[in-house]
Every structure is written in C-alpha cells, then in structure tokens.
Symmetry: C2
C-alpha cells in the first residue's frame, strides 16, 4: 500500500495506472501533473487524480510512488525536473515502450537517485490516446516487463513487481537490450509497417475508393496505424537501429513471398503460408511462463 | 424465395450462406456437395445442408440457385463439372476473392451457360476455416461486390442483389478489373505482408521468445496470417500481377518511413505518422454509399 502516487503524464497509460491502483486500494492519494494544464484539470474532473500539481517536481513531492508516463522523448527533461524531489524511499517507474534510451535519460537526469528507478514497460495500450480513455482494467492480465540495471535497488524491483501484480499484470524481467530487440520485432516494426501500408494506400489516386471497400481484415491489420503520432515518433526514433534491422529481415521475407508469387510455384507458396498460418494459429497473447 | 440451393463447397463461406438463407427463409432446401465426403457429411449433421449430394453435378440438379464456394483455383473444374446441370432459370454465383480469373474459368467451364453466372465477392470471412465455423450472421452488414460482365443477364444481377440484400448484406457492382485492383490493395497485399512479417519473426533464432512477448497490437496485425493456406495460395496466385504492383507501392512507402527514421528528422516522422493516423482514425468499415 502506498500513501501517495506522483503521476507525471495524465494520459491513457498514466491515467489507467492511477485508476487501477485506486481500484485495488493500493494507493491513498494521487497527485498528478501533465504538461498541458487542461489535461491535468480533466484528469482531476474524471477522478483519475485527486490533486493537480502545478509542476512535475511538486507532483513528486511527498510521494512514495512515482510513475512517469510521458512520450519517451520527454523522459530526460522529466527526470531532470523531478530529480531534486526524489528521495531514497521512493519507487520511481516509467511505462515507456523503449528501455535503452529511457535508462540513458534516467542516468543523465536522475544521477545519484538512479537506484530508485525501475524501468518498466507494460504491454498494453489502445489506439486512442488521452485521459478520457483511461481504464482501470487496461493492465489486467497484461504483461509488464521490468528491465533493472546494475544500480537498481533489488528491493525496488520487488516493490515494482508487487505493484504491477497487485493490479493484475504479469511481471517478467529482461535486460534493456533484450527488451528493445524483442519489441522492435513484435511491436515497433508492425507499427512502422502499418503506417507505411496505410500511407501507400491513401496516397494512391484511387486511395479513397480503395478504403471504401476495405473490410474486417484491413480493419485489424491497420488498427495500430491510428496510434498517437508523438508517442510513436519517439518510440521509433529511440529504437531506430533495432527497428531498421528488423525491417530488413521483414523485407527479405517479403521478397521471398513475392518470389514465390512471381515463380507461379503454387505448392511452395501454400507450404510457406501453411507454416506461417500454423505459427499464428498456435500463438496466444502473453503465452509466457510464470512470473520471474 | 428459392426452392433449392445447390451448394458446391460446404466450408465457412458456403455454409454461412446456406445458414443465412435458411434463417431469412429465402430457400426451402439446400443440397450440398464438398470434395471431401466427410465435410459434406459434417455439413449435414450441423444442419447447414439438408441433402448430401454425391457429386457437384447432382448438387446442382433441380436447384434454382447455385453457390460455388471453393478455393478460386478450383473454379474451372467446378464450372466444368456442373455445366450440364445448369439451366437458363438458374442463378449461379461464386464467393471468390478474385474476379478476373474466376470469370475466365467460368467462360471456359460454363461456355453457353455463362449468362446464368453472376460473379460475387462477399467482403467477409474469419481466420478459421471449415463448416464448424459457419455462421448465419457472417454476411450481415457486410459488403458484397458483384462484377457482372457483358453476357450476364440483367435479371440475374437483380436476383443476385435481392438474395444478398435479403441476408443483410450491402451490394455494389464494379468491373472485374476494378475489383481485383481494389482488393489487391486492401486485402491481398495485407495478407501477403502479414504472412511475410510473421515468417520473418518466426524464423529468427530468438523468434519463439519474441512471440512470447507479443501483445494486442501484434495480435490484431497478424490475425490474417492465420488464414487458410489453400484459399490464400489461390487468391494470391490468381491476382499476382496486381498484388506485386501493390507490394511495390508499399515497399516505396516503407522505404520513405525508414529514411525518416535514418535521418533522425523527428518532426517529419511525426507529420508522416499524423497523416496516416488521421486517415485510419476516420476510416469506417464499409463506409460506402447506397447500393448500386
């Protein structure tokens, strides 16, 4: 049980965390700050936060739990803004989809308070942004990856595990590099592809007519193309080397499928699709083992 | 109201059509045939068809409505098999995702009975195949594209429109070429990409570990990768020129996004994502106008 959550960034991810903690009775009070005062005000109106703080530093002051839920590109300035409010008793976490760059930002921003920080990435989201869509159940049953580094206090990793488990998430740990490689492959690249695909359709002369005829397959395939531009600008930029590497692997695979089409080898094409279809049919979201 | 539906291919698409017609009381009796006797038997057990026919020709005999719901690559042999059972009073349709090749197959297979045939493509489906998944509501609210040709009887196009409207679908007509271009862009290419992407992940040494961590974005993006291999082998092969053309357009768009990443131009990347995100947010499935 925490006394006070200091929430920096009262959007979908941060707001959902606050609501989940309140529902699980894991926090007594939430003090929130967003860069935009109207967002902070809206979060208060919606009962997501109890008190609106006029700055990130004041949101942190007096908290025993801090969650930073800003686009990853704003991490360093956020860490710098709150550094003088961090105490040794605080647990500080983020929710960023990239970890290597956030950890570097924390090193530079938090300096001697780095041990309080447990890098965290909950594998959850919606294609709609904003505190209006905050949802106490967003993290229920979802995976959360913690990527502690050498300086991270072990007791803080334990506390972080308890918080996320307490709101129904499944926790596992990875190295930051393993995390960023994994999510370049299964999350960041799909977003890049969905952006490029939708752009490729929309910019054709007949694009509008094409879109009129698109069905349920298109709907699901491109759902992530509606994602928040600022959030995904930061994620793709932060992890761009690994994303570009994965994109190369994808291009090679696409070229192989194109070659099967061009060669009219129907049996080879069917075999290739059958292999993929089997992988995807057997896949289950979050089919991970027990929490670490 | 039809007396008898002759159903060739008692799978997901054909079975759902039979169930929908029965539910709407648009048919008195369904006589079904599938290449695999066990499928035909199962369709009968499930009440999808009333009578199991031992051949495609016998399934057609006595019918006033015929639906061919086989992988598009099997169209020609199916048309040939039923040709001598087709009368001038029959309305014959297919459900194939490609139209140019099916029409060619009908020309060769049906010959002087071609005027009875109304090429049809209902924009509906599931990532699971088989009569077990047949669903009377599969076509409700979905679009159905009819692609009549010069020889198609106008009265048959009207009857086809009535049948599909009668089970809750929205009907529009296009030329076969316009259809195949459109669906290469919004359906066939997404399948090819989803196959290639999933293959690219699964064949990496860490592929299994990657898949363990994949979340809801991956789930929706790759749903169509679980599609039926034989069905998609035929669709991609039948429409391969247009699909390869669309794939080239997609590759160019992907290259542009990669270049934005590589150049570290965060603002340009955000602008590009914002444009796409807006298109996708505003898109509605089946946002077509009134039926033609």
């Amino acid at each position: 049980m925490f006394e006070q959550l200091g929430l920096i960034g009262c959007g979908l991810m941060g707001g959902s965390f606050a609501l989940a903690l309140k529902r699980a009775k894991l926090v007594k009070r939430v003090v929130g700050y967003s860069k935009s005062p109207s967002t902070t005000e809206r979060a208060k109106q919606l009962g997501v936060i109890d008190v609106a703080a006029p700055s990130a530093l004041l949101a942190v002051s007096g908290a025993d739990l801090v969650l930073i839920a800003v686009p990853v590109g704003a991490s360093e300035q956020t860490f710098k803004a709150i550094r003088h409010g961090i105490t040794d008793q605080m647990l500080v976490m983020d929710v960023g989809s990239t970890k290597g760059d956030v950890i570097e930002a924390a090193r530079r921003g938090l300096q001697d308070q780095l041990s309080s920080f447990v890098p965290a990435h909950p594998i959850a989201g919606k294609e709609v942004a904003g505190v209006e869509h905050a949802d106490a159940g967003l993290y229920t049953g979802r995976q959360v990856v913690l990527t502690p580094i050498k300086t991270t206090l072990r007791s803080n990793v334990q506390r972080a595990t308890q918080v996320w488990s307490g709101i129904g998430a499944k926790v596992r740990t990875m190295t930051p590099d393993e995390h960023d490689t994994t999510f370049a492959a299964v999350s960041h690249l799909p977003h890049l592809i969905a952006f490029a695909f939708t752009s490729g359709i929309a910019t054709q002369p007949q694009g509008e007519r094409f879109l009129e005829m698109a069905g349920p397959g298109f709907r699901d395939f491109t759902r992530i193309a509606a994602s928040d531009p600022a959030v995904w600008r930061d994620i793709l930029m932060a992890n761009r080397e690994k994303v570009l590497l994965q994109s190369q692997t994808f291009r090679d695979a696409l070229r192989q499928f194109e070659a099967l089409l061009a060669s009219s080898d129907a049996q080879a094409l069917e075999n290739a699709i059958a292999a993929v279809s089997q992988v995807r049919s057997q896949w289950q979201p979050g089919a991970m083992g027990s929490p670490e």
